[in-house]
Structure formats: structure tokens, C-alpha cells
Symmetry: C2
Subunit: 199 residues, 2 copies
Amino acid sequence: MTDRPYHHGNLRSAVLGAAVEVIEQNGPAALSLRDLARRAGVSHAAPAHHFGDKAGLLTALAAQGYELLAGSLAEALAEARGAAPGEAGEELAEAGVAYVRFAVRHRAHFEVMFQPGLYHPDDPQVVAARGRADQALADALQALPDPPAGEQRRLAELAAWSMVHGFAALWLSGALPTEPGAEPGDVARTVIRGRFGSG
Amino acid sequence: MTDRPYHHGNLRSAVLGAAVEVIEQNGPAALSLRDLARRAGVSHAAPAHHFGDKAGLLTALAAQGYELLAGSLAEALAEARGAAPGEAGEELAEAGVAYVRFAVRHRAHFEVMFQPGLYHPDDPQVVAARGRADQALADALQALPDPPAGEQRRLAELAAWSMVHGFAALWLSGALPTEPGAEPGDVARTVIRGRFGSG
DNA sequence: TCCCCTATCTTGTCAACGACAAGATAGGGT
DNA sequence: ACCCTATCTTGTCGTTGACAAGATAGGGGA
């Protein structure tokens, strides 16, 4: 047919990228290995070689997502630390904003990550990456001026994570009756400060 | 084959019920109209008559879910109102607990409701039911001793909804490292009181 | 009583998909 | 020059969603 070489050379990355596009536009349910193969210009069974099966592809996507999330949180935390010392809880609030921004910016990854039924949640790479993201979240809590300890620490982590995750999930699902042009990160910052600004 | 009558008599309800079972056990992605038909003992195309297509079935499920949620919230609010006057924010906290309990108890409905890509979110029945659920949530906020107004009202609603929704979503996704035997409603109450107990 | 009318369910079919097996190709290491 | 492995192709099977056309029941009106 075409003068395409027998070996794609970068099929794994190409398939992952195409998967992100498809999921962003039509959700994970619309994903098809054969469609991704067509987009990459390879035969219908080529993607399976790199990921095993459909769940394997989504597993790779989830692992990549947790890596990205851990990086985003760590970066936001470092930035908030470096900035001029503002009010108490600055770092935690900005980490929360970063969480929401990640969900919106990497919608496809986020949607897959929290639907463990779609992939292999016990995959070693996924577990490791998720551990790094969890640690980044814990670091943000420890940045509080008077970090809670013991049972309180666990509760504070639950509360903070629940709020930002819920905001992100509701935003992505379109359930929030907000202005179309609003920037989700800014709205999230206002909401977070209203509840967590004082500790 | 069997002496089954030509008309099932209650196929619509049977298919909806079977769909809930399947989704609870294997998630929405594992849903198959043909499998539901087999479970109901009818031909493979029978379910489509009642729901049009797969998205139609999930649309009916989402509408049913919003109705159930509105009822659960209203009931919890009424109960908290009727109980001996406790501390401030009692009604809002109990509505939040009811939200989490609904998500866990009706996991299948909850998972579908907040994935609008799976169904027809503009369906009139869905829109109406969702409106009732939204109203129940607003009622819970107005039950505060000093209910916020204007912009503050919107922010408080966002914060409260985000927290309980996030908690429920994280719980269902298995992301929370909690004790296996823990009752999600009780954990949620502790988390909610920690953040919203003082208004 | 008879007929028709409508909702309900069946049967048959098609394209698309996931998964698997077996073979072809390239490119590097020995 | 040879093999060895990863990569990709081709072919196939069972399952699914969607659609079309026909069969069946059950009730309301002539």
C-alpha cells in the first residue's frame, strides 16, 4: 500500500497519545484498539503487542497519569514554598489547585486513573506511581504551619483530598453550573480557601 | 424451547434490575444488552425495544438514580430536623452522610450518573430528576443556623458538594486506605464534622 | 362476536471489536 | 555470515450493538 516502513519505530508512544485524544473527546468507553491502530497507520493487531490487551493500554495510561500528578503536585508545592510567605496553608491550597488543574488538563488520564475496573490497578508500575502521588499529597499536608498528627492527620488528608477530588470530578462531569469561561483552578482556589484557609 | 410466555410482562424493570447487578459487580463497561436479555430469558433484541439502545438504558438508570438521591437527601434532612436539636450544621452534615451512603448503597446508579458520556444527559426525565436532587442539596444548605447568601451561598454549596462527592468517588474507586470493615457513612460523618462542624 | 390496532417480543443479518495464533520482517549482536 | 529477538502483519473466531422485518398477544370498537 503506502511506503510506510515495516516498523513504526515509536508505536507505543503513538498509540498512547492517540488514546489520550480519543478519551478526551469521547470518553474511555469509545476507545478501540483497532481505531488506534488505524490512526497510527499500522495493522489492527499491532497495538496489542505493546500492551497485551485493552486493559494493558489503560494500565500504561494510568501509570503515566499518576506520574504526571505526582510531578504536578511536587512542582506546585515547591513554587508555593519559594514564593513570599503568604497566609497560613498557602502550600496546601496551591497543591489542591494543582490537583484540580491536573484533572482538567489531563482529563483522559484522570478519568482512567480513578476507574480501576478499566485497567490492572495492581500493576507494579501503577502501584509505584500512585505511591509517589500519595506521598506528594502527604507532603502538602505537612507543609501546614501546625501539621496535624495521628488520627487527625488521616482525617485532614481525607478531607482535603475529598474536596479537591470531588471538585475535579464534578467539574469534569459537567455537573457544576459555573460560567463557561471560568478557569477551574481559580474557582477551586476560592472554594479551598473558604474551607481550608484557616487551617 | 421453554414454556415461557411470549410476553415477559415486566421486561423493562427486569432489565434495569439486571443492569444494576452487572454494573455493581463489573462496572458499566462490562454491560451488554445481549447478556441482560439472556438473564431475563428473552431474545437478544428485546431490551432495545424498551430503551432504544444501550445509552437509552443507562439514561433510564441515571434518571432513576437522581430520583433515589433526591429522596435520600430529603429523607435525611427531615430526620435530622426532627431529631433533638444538636449542634449547628446537623442537617447539612447528615445530608452529606446520606449522599455518601447513597453512593455506596446504589453504586451502579452513582457511577453512571456522573459519567454523562455514557447516556443522554439532556433527557427530560434525567434533567427533571437532577433538578430535584440539586434542590435537596440546596435545602440542606439553607438548614444552616446562619445560611450564607449571594456568592457565599454558591461557594458553600460547591465546597460541601465537592467534599461529599469526592469522598464517595474515592471510596468507590478503592483509593482510600481505610479499614475494610469501616462503615463509609460513619467515616464520612467524622470527616464532614471536622471541616463543616463550625459552620 | 369479529376485527383491527398497538405494544411487545422474535428472528435474521451486518459491521465492528477484542483476542488469539501463526507467519513475515527488520536490525542488532556474535 | 548467522541467528535471535522485538516488532509488525495476516487470518480467524466468538461476541456485541444496531437495525430491519416478521410473529404474537391482548384490548377496544364495530
